[in-house]
Each structure stands twice: as structure tokens, then as C-alpha cells.
Symmetry: C2
Subunit: 310 residues, 2 copies
């Protein structure tokens, strides 16, 4: 097999977290673009959707040597690393899993990629790594594990010639999102009419449509293609528009043309609630194009203007 | 047991890496100072020396929950975290062990300490986390794992009220050092007369005596005692005197009063050899007190002046 591969063979791309909300959308886009795509999965993962999409499968056996052997078969020129374990507030029982998923797995993936000759590594960071003043200061153990992985990735950039970029994600949303996050819960309440108790609702979010996030990952890859070896950059994928939960509910009511079954102040803010999206330089050349009103109208399937007139 | 503990009971201190070169010396000092000392060890570790020293043993079972239960029995107010796995140039087979020893173990120790009410956490970093220009830029995966752990520890400081300090260690040396490092190798060659081939020898080291390093850890603990919750600081434990390998050999010859059986230029510099110690703010209130000439003379057991006159 190795011998048949020529220098002109199309570059392969390897995606982790390809069964997650953002990863699946990115994978579908890469496949649609005709890219040669592989997904890295755990031994027990459900591969049905991946195999249906026709992508190659790389199995992470939990060791750097095993993963390096598997990745060497693919020889990806780009890695998109989106796999992550999330906890807003962790318990002691979560620590081992957070470290394994967010640091150890990323470390062996970066090692495997480096050995396989990968030159571009784009990883998903979080807005929670940065405080409201713009300083690098994680607000949770989850965000700290993301920062820890960036430190590991820094080695592969500084000393092994990789080009790396961390995209700090904000509140990603869009069709097919089943995560227990605010917007899916609001859409579910809207559809069912079931009452939803909310916090006072003054915390502000920067909501970015998943298709804009996918464009961000592709823009990051293009940016690294033109970057010198050793590059390691960190950018925000944010729209620049901060919307409070109260305003978001008002937008949903406007788009739907009917009131939302919610009550503000029924729940307290979460401990350490982020009240405003962190700042940070937006990825150059990229901007969020799908507005909330437009995207929500498409998602709900109604016509915002005609619905509002009823 | 819990019920018998009063608020006035002497503060306990927990040490990791207590069987290592620096850790053992720190442990001995803490015991000599009459402190209530515990050491955290792996299940298979040799505890003979620790038990002989009369310190309590905390076994790390490899899980955050297990370690948290064990540390809760000790309730340390201070943790000195010196356990580490070192590789100058790593192979793929080293990655899992580096992450486990230098990131995952530290994370569960910080979690366990935080749950047990520990307020002061002093960790051993490395000068290799900083480049010659003073920027945070690890020169190896080893140094990157140290930086990654600092990112994890940052969470416990910023969000859980811990006071944390990372001491970046340079070239530590002193009696009883059996590590395969330059100075032990030189002392061994001096004693045996066996030929030792060296690199060209123009790389400069900042050599700090282990007793000065121990003083640094105690000074860091004292500093954190006066610091507000949430403090996280990074300081260098360096003498400020950079000595080339050639100069070091000359000092050894002067102290010994006889030539060293070494040849410069027989070996190449290591890939990525650090040619000068990194800068970085020295821990305030601390300074290296044991000079090379004085310390080496004591170590060799001779009198430098009379020997030199022979």
C-alpha cells in the first residue's frame, strides 16, 4: 500500500469527535467537498453513521504507539481535533475522564499526527479559557484541560514543526443539536409547549451557527497552509454580538409569532455563571454570517414575517 | 479519628516524589523540622526509606476518588508536588507515561488536595518551560507536560481558592545524586579515573545545590501562607551564575587539584541542546547560598586550598 502512494495523492484529513454535534457537521462538509476523510474513534464507539458516510476509521486503542500505527496508515496532512468531554462543574469522579479525554487522548493524537507527517492541527478550544478581561484564565476544570492540551500541542508546534491553531468556540447552535444546552432546551419547550423555568436571564451569550463554525475550521486549515512551521495561534470563533437570555427568548417569540412557555428567575444562576462572552481576537478572514433571526427562522421552519403577522 | 482532630493540631504536609533526589532531601528536612509529614506513593513503590523516616504513607490508587479519600485522612495544609517522569527527547512509547506521571497524577493530587482543604500547593516546574528570551515556550514534551499541569493547577487556584506556586528548577545537584546527569557523571569519572567523552562543552548551566532548592520550597510555602486565595505564581530557582561545562570541569580540577579524565568534543551536542539557562524572575526573598566551589569541595571531601598546593 505504502508503495502505491504518490506525492500527488489527495491530502487526507483526520477528524476526532466526528460523532459530536460540530464534528459530524464538519465531517459531512468535508465529505461533500470530496476530501479524503478519516475519523478517529474509541473501540466501543458507534461507527454506523461514519461508515454510512464512507469515511475511513482509525481506532484509538488508548496508547500512543497503537494510535501512531493506525494514523500512519492514513497519513493525514490535516487533523481536526474536536473530541472532548464537557462538565460545567466537575465532581471528583469526573477528573480522570476529563484528563483522559481532553489531555491524554489529544496528546497521543498530536504525537501520532506528528509521526505521520501531519503539518496542520486545528483543535477546538473554549471561550471559557479566557476571562472577561481577556486574560488566559480558565473558569472551570473543563476549560483548564483545554488549556493543558494547548500546552502539549505547543511542543509539537515549537519543536516538531507542526502548524497548530486553537479555535475557541462560544455557544454553538444549529439543526440537530441534542445537547442539554439552553437553545435546544428552549426550542424543545417551544415545540412541546412544556413550561421551562429559567435563571434571571441577564447572562449574555455569543451564539454562532454550526455552519459558521464549520467554515471557521476550514478557514483555520487554510490559514495554517500558508503559515510557517512552528506556528501556534489561538483565535476566537465569535460573532461579536452578545445576546442576553432574555433577548434570545424575545427573538424566539418574534420568529415564532407566539409567546415562549418560560419563566425567568425560577432558577438561580449557575455557580460561576459566565455573564458575558469573553473577548479574544476573531479568526482573521472569518466572520459569522448566519444571523440569529435568520438561522432560527430556518430552524423552526416558519416564515418569520408572515408568522409575526398572524 | 476525625473527631479527635482539633483546630490547633499541627498542620500536615504532603510530599509527592519523596523518593526522588530533591523530594527525599525535602522530606528529610521537613522531618528534621518536626513537621507532620506524609508521602504519596504508587502502590508498587519501595516505602522502606519513607517508613524508616516515620512519615505517613498515602497510596495513589490511580483514581481521583481513591486518592481524594486517602488524602482526606491526612488533611494536609501544604502539598509539595515533586513527582515527575523525565525524558530529554521522548519516543512515542514515552508519551502515555509522561502524561500519566506529569499531568494526570498531578490533576488528581490537586483535586484531592482541594477537597481536603489544602490551601498551599507548591509544584516543581522546569527551566525548560521558558526559552532563552524569557517566553513561555517548552523545549520538549517533558517541559510541555509541566506547563500542562500548571494549566490544570490554575483552575484550583482561580476557581477553588487554592494558593499555588510553580518553582522552575534548573540543574539541581548535591550529595547522593545518582541520576544520569552531567555532574554525577563527572564526579563518578573523577573518582574512578575512567575516561568520559563530552560534547564541545560550551553549553552553560545554572547549578543549584539541593539544599538551596529545599530552602526554595520552604520559602515558597511561606510566601503562599501570606498570599490571598486564588494566587498562582511562577518563579525561577536559579543562582544567576551560568557556568559552561568547560568552566565546570575547570572548577572540578581546581577543587580536586588534579586533571579530570574528560575529552571535549568527543560527542555532539544533544538535539535541541539548551545552550544557556533560561531567564525568569527568581523567587523573591530566596537566593542560592551554596557556591559551586564550596559545595563541590564539601562533596569531594577534600580541602580545595591544600589540595591545590600539592
Amino acid at each position: 500500500m505504502e508503495g502505491t502512494r504518490g506525492a500527488t495523492e489527495e491530502d487526507a484529513v483526520l477528524v476526532s469527535g466526528a460523532t459530536g454535534f460540530v464534528g459530524a457537521r464538519l465531517l459531512a462538509r468535508l465529505v461533500a467537498d470530496g476530501r479524503r476523510v478519516a475519523a478517529v474513534v474509541r473501540p466501543g464507539s458507534d461507527r454506523t453513521a461514519l461508515e454510512a458516510a464512507g469515511v475511513a476509521i482509525v481506532v484509538d486503542d488508548g496508547t500512543a504507539e497503537g494510535l501512531a500505527r493506525a494514523v500512519a496508515e492514513i497519513r493525514p496532512t490535516t487533523v481536526f481535533h474536536l473530541a472532548a468531554k464537557f462538565t460545567a462543574i466537575h465532581a471528583t469522579a469526573d477528573v480522570d475522564g476529563l484528563i483522559e479525554a481532553n489531555v491524554a487522548f489529544g496528546a497521543r493524537l498530536a504525537e501520532a499526527a506528528s509521526r505521520a507527517g501531519t503539518t496542520r492541527f486545528v483543535t477546538a478550544g473554549t471561550s471559557w479559557q479566557v476571562d472577561e478581561a481577556g486574560a488566559e484564565r480558565a473558569n472551570s476544570l473543563y476549560a483548564a484541560t483545554k488549556a493543558a492540551f494547548e500546552a502539549i500541542l505547543g511542543h509539537y508546534a515549537a519543536n516538531e514543526g507542526m502548524r497548530a491553531l486553537s479555535l475557541r468556540l462560544y455557544d454553538t447552535w444549529g439543526p440537530g443539536d441534542t445537547r442539554r444546552k439552553l437553545l435546544p432546551l428552549l426550542l424543545s419547550a417551544r415545540a412541546s409547549g412544556a413550561h421551562l423555568g429559567l435563571s434571571p436571564g441577564d447572562q449574555r451569550l455569543d451564539l454562532v451557527h454550526v455552519d459558521d463554525v464549520v467554515e471557521g475550521f476550514l478557514a483555520a486549515e487554510a490559514r495554517l497552509t500558508a503559515a510557517p512551521a512552528g506556528t501556534f495561534e489561538r483565535f476566537a470563533l465569535r460573532s461579536g454580538r452578545a445576546v442576553s437570555v432574555k433577548e434570545l427568548v424575545a427573538i424566539l417569540e418574534q420568529v415564532s409569532g407566539r409567546p415562549m412557555p418560560v419563566a425567568f428567575g425560577e432558577r438561580p444562576y449557575r455557580v460561576g455563571e459566565v455573564m458575558a462572552p469573553s473577548p479574544g481576537e476573531i479568526l482573521p478572514g472569518w466572520r459569522a454570517r448566519i444571523g440569529l433571526e435568520e438561522g432560527l427562522a430556518a430552524l423552526i421552519g416558519g416564515d418569520a414575517c408572515s408568522t409575526a403577522k398572524r
